[in-house]
Subunit: 81 residues, 2 copies
Amino acid sequence: MKKVKIYVTLKESILDPQGSAVQGSLKKIGYEEVADLRIGKYLELTIGETTRDIDTIVKEMCEKVLTNTVIENYRYEVEEA
Amino acid sequence: MKKVKIYVTLKESILDPQGSAVQGSLKKIGYEEVADLRIGKYLELTIGETTRDIDTIVKEMCEKVLTNTVIENYRYEVEEA
């Protein structure tokens, strides 16, 4: 069993209206020091026994289903579970 | 300037229908080895000069605005930017 942590972020050049809205809210309640805020996704997968290569599977899943590679970047970590 | 990375996850006891749906989709296209999948949020904040303690600010923001502590857990990392 492996535990895979995937971090999905919007590319730098892509506007993040959700992040801007949250940053605006924080500013209103007194957190002016927040200069930038961007929101992404964090996925935790548990992967069972498989004969396939774990990196290959994770990359395939990210590119087919889990992320939109046109506007998003991803990185991942694999841990023994 | 500090860069803060915040990871927000649903508590273990809370159902994650979004994660289950994605896991179902992965299974359908041939990734049966995915035993569990949970989806959380990943926030990247840039925090400018402040006289306040960074840990205090981040915890306050998480508990007031960024997370719902009834159903979510969070952890964070602070890096020099």
